[in-house]
Structure formats: C-alpha cells, structure tokens
Symmetry: C2
Subunit: 368 residues, 2 copies
Amino acid sequence: MTSDLLALSTPSTADSGCPGAGRLRERVDSALAAFLAGKCGSAPDPCLPPLVAVLREFLEGGKRVRPLFCHFGWLAGGGDPDAEQPAVLGAALELFHTFALVHDDIMDASGLRRGRPTVHRALAAGFRGPGGRQAAERFGTSAAILLGDLALVWSEELLSVLDADSGRKRAVRELVATMHVELIAGQYLDLLGAAESGVDPLRRAWRVIRFKTARYTVELPLRIGAVLAGADARVLTACGAYGRPVGEAFQLRDDLLGVFGDPAVTGKPDLDDLREGKQTVLMVLTWRRATKAQREIITALHGKPDLDQQEADRLREVVRDTGAVARVEKLIADRAQRALSVLNSPAFAAQAKQGLTELAVSATSRTR
Amino acid sequence: MTSDLLALSTPSTADSGCPGAGRLRERVDSALAAFLAGKCGSAPDPCLPPLVAVLREFLEGGKRVRPLFCHFGWLAGGGDPDAEQPAVLGAALELFHTFALVHDDIMDASGLRRGRPTVHRALAAGFRGPGGRQAAERFGTSAAILLGDLALVWSEELLSVLDADSGRKRAVRELVATMHVELIAGQYLDLLGAAESGVDPLRRAWRVIRFKTARYTVELPLRIGAVLAGADARVLTACGAYGRPVGEAFQLRDDLLGVFGDPAVTGKPDLDDLREGKQTVLMVLTWRRATKAQREIITALHGKPDLDQQEADRLREVVRDTGAVARVEKLIADRAQRALSVLNSPAFAAQAKQGLTELAVSATSRTR
C-alpha cells in the first residue's frame, strides 16, 4: 500500500533548472547500475544474476521520489549540487523502497504496480517447475520475499560504503533506522486494520499516513539529505515543518487516486483499494458523514472482494455525495499552503527553494 | 529450511570451561534484551511492542550457535575472552538468523519450529479481525514477513553501533554482506529446486549446503569473530579449513535428522522434509543407488504432500537399504576428522582449541 508517487519527478521538476535536479535521476541510476553490476559480477552462485535482472527491471520503473527529496534536503543544508554522496544515498533509499514495495505487494496480493505485473506475479509467471499454478504462485511469493530481502540488505550495504565523515554518517544511520522501524510500524498498523480494537479509525488512518508516507516519503528523506550535508537543527526543524504537510497531502491525494484515478494513468488497478476495504482518511470521513442509507451501501460494497465496476461507481457516488471528497481536497490544499509558507523560512538554503516549491505543488495536484 | 542447530550450545560446551563460552549465551542474551527493551521504549507507535514480544519469545528458543562460532573466531584471533564486542556482534547475528528462519518458515509453509508453532502460525492464531481462517492466515503470513524485516533492520542497526575501529568494522561489514547474499542465494537455489534445468542434482544439493549451512552457520561467523579481533590471513584461512567441513557435516546430520529424527527431540515434524520432496544430498544419493523397484517407491512417495507415517516408513527403509545412510555417515565422519586435524594448526590461539574441538564433535554427532 506504500505509495508509488509516480508523478514527482516529471519533467516539470527534472528539467526545471533546479540546481542538480536534472542530473539527479541520472546519477542515482548510475550509482544503482554500477552497484548491481558489481553484485552480478561477484555473485556467489549463477542463480543470482537472473534474480538481480528482475530487481533491476523493477527499479527502472521507479520515479526516484525519495532520492529527489533527499537531494533537496542536501541542498537545503547547503550541500554542493555537484557532489556524488547524495546520489549514493539516494540509491540506497531507492533500494530500500524497492524492498518495501515488493513485500507490500505480497501482503496486499496486488497484481499490478507501475502498470506492470508485480514482482511476485512476474516471478510466478516465469516458474518452470512442476506443480501447476499453485506451485508457481508459491514460488513467486517466496522468490519475491527473497528479492525484497536482497534489496534491503543491499540498501544497507550502499549506506555502509557512503563516503562521509563518521559523525554525519552516524546521523544518517540514525535517521535511516528510524525510517525503517516507522515504515514497518505503519505497514503493521495497516495490516492490523480493524483487528486492532478500541482505536478510533480516523486516528488510525492518520497514523498510517504519518508513518507510511509523510515521514517515510518526504520528511525523513529530506532530513537524511540535510544531515549528510551537516545541516544544523534549524534546517532540520524546517525540513519537518515542510515535509510533514507535503507528505500528508501526498497520501491524501493518493487515497483519492486509489478510488477515482484512471488506471491507464496511475498504473494501478482502480478497484484494489475499494475491494480491499482500505480504511483511508477518505473512507473514514465518508462513513462519518454518511446517512443510514449510504452506510448500507458502504457496508455492502466496501471490502467486497469481487466488487465490479458498476458497484464501484455506486460506492464512488456515495463518497462524493457525503462531501468527503471536497473535505479531503480542502485538507490537501491547507497542507500545500502550510508547506509553501515554510519555504519562506531563511533556514533553507536558497538553492533548494525552487525545487521544493515545485515538489510541493506537484505532490498535491498530481493525477498519477 | 535453514538448520536450527539446536544442540550446539548444550551444557557440554556451555559449561565446559572453554574460556568465555559459559558466559557467552548470557552476554548475547543481555545484549539482545537491552537492545529490544530500548526499541520498545522508543517505539514510534503502540502497535509495535506486542510484535516485539513475539520476536523476543522466538529468540528465547534459539541456541546461539552462530554467536558461539563468532565467539570462538574472536578467541581464535586472539581476542580478549572478557570483551563485550563479540556478544554484541553475536546478538546481531542471532537477529539476522531470526529474520532468516521466520522468512524461511513462510516459504516452506512450516508449522512447527523449536517445538512450537512457527511465527506466521502463532501470529495467525492471535488474529482477532473478521474474515475467518483465510484472513487470519493471510494476516499471519504478512505480519511474519514484517517481523522478519524488523529483525533484519535491527540486526543491521546493532552492527552499526558495534564498538570497534573503522578498519575492523569495515572487515566485519564486508563478511556480513557476503553472508547475507550467500544465504539469500542458497535459499533461492533451494526454491528453484527442480525448476532449474540442466543442473546435476547432487551438485545443486552441495551448493545449498555450502551457502545455507556450511558458510552461513560455521565458517562465516567464525571469520567474522576473527576479523573483529584483528586476526591475520593465516587465522582466516584456518577458520575456513575448519569451518567448511564442520558446517557441511552439520547439514548432512540435519538432513539425516529430517528423515530419521525423533520430533520429540528435534522440535520439528519428521514428515516435512519427505512431504516437501527435499532434494538433499541424502535423497539424491538414495536415488542414485536405488534399484528400479526402489525408484518406483521414491517417485510415488517422496514429495507426496499428504504422506502418512506408514508411507514414510517405507521410504525410510528404501533410504537405508540403498546404503545412502551409511554413505552420509561416512561423509560426516570424514569431515569431522578433517576439521579436527585443522585444529592442530598453530594458527588458532590456544584458548579457542578446546571449544572448537567440542563444537566439531557435537555438530557431527548430535541427535537434535
């Protein structure tokens, strides 16, 4: 369920002339390519390179959102736009994100990601052993667990070879450790869902947003980049004040796209969130505002595993009619506003401001 | 399928008076307890401590085999028997091993480990949400993937706080990175099994042994402990010459126990390996030596998902009758002999020899 945030490094930011942003993807990609080529070259067994090829292919589809925020954190902290370290750090974050997405897709039994079969599905499709479809599915899931594990241990390895003085490296490590545990906690919260008794559903939905997107996708990558540049406490505080609302708005937009988005644009099926009965802020607000008749529709359709398009449309109508969509749009606009006002703070180095402004806008108004 | 190696830190080694070995488990356990208590105290969300409790309970059942070899590597390299670093390093290895076992048990759909329900089963049993058994099983698997992920990132975190000079720390990290990728490769090989075409089954079985046990359980923990102590190349070579045969013998014994062991003693069901049709060295040798009539029995029963005790007994009889058991016993004895002869090498510090001798003997003659 972790967001893919496809739209953030579209040409509007990549080619906007923000210092270093245009070359960032290229640099992160070469760091990843060099690292993975080295791993294939030194593979302890010939079974490994084909698995790495699947990992590499999956990586190609990513948009480097966390590396981008990390890069702007580096710039915000006064880092040299031409330095190599933020790209290596960005590559580590992207590998970690691959781990998170691949394991998430297994847990959610998702079939599609970035417009293509998810890793466990692709690996199942490539299975040549005996045992039919069931054996293939089991193989796909198991091999995808391993591919995620591999991405995670390699992300750690990239971090450990990061070229920085020991104080900055320790600070990066501490934030990365926080990011790891928060993401896992967010995913666990998501799994617990309704099984966690006595918890207000709206509060739970906000906790999931906080850990799985706001901190993970925006605030922490920003801060991680900033501490690598040796930023002071004032910059780190500003990173939080900017990053949290952008991250929240990002996920709120994602929740809307999960229900109303065009799968041809998002690359994700438009029924998954509804079939799964995902308790997003949008859906909790819908429930709260619904009439008795509307609640009956929600109860019957939200979380129905074989929901069809017609039923989905009825449910979407209820979501709109309750005013929940308008409410969520307002929550997004407020957060975009708050983030943009933080950018006036003198804490951020000037070289970061244009890029962060564009990222705040694209994160909150994207269509994919 | 990774071996649990239950028997290695029985009183025979733990109370044998080997320098530091008696206190090792205690030290590793306090390092783990302190680390996990800190993690619970600083948990970003109240959902986390109950998951950590499951992790802690699982850890209690472990026998600290890798920490033990790591400790003796440290001693072999001339390390101070009273130092704390090998215990912290041992705790990191034990957390990594927890990750490996928990994910392995999901891939193998194992129900029992260390005489208790596996983590995914235990988590499924604790599920209180709606959706019946299927939802509970899905929750158990997903939560266990996360618990494994948590153990892995925390293992990395323990490594990163290891108190050692940067050269030794880098050497430890390099070996740990090798261990990670080899274990994952070994598990992937195991998954591929018969689906990997054109590979000699005996060679494949030996490759799995090499990565999943020999290197992972014995040789690399030994070398990791040794490099932490600053051991020279001569010691590291001796660690390999001792560790590889002990590790191989260990897994060969494990394969025998998987077919002939008493589940009341091993803590693992005695039909799993046979039902799974695991292509161990034992079973490949059995096939090679079998007559046509015996091969018919193997084809019918090995890998039969609902194999019963009577059928298992027929299969066991075939394994014995072909002489494969005697052959594997001989392979084990040869390896034990080879390992013991290496211990006469002057490369090892005297303080490590008694413990390594006992470990070689118990690893090859254990019953659980």
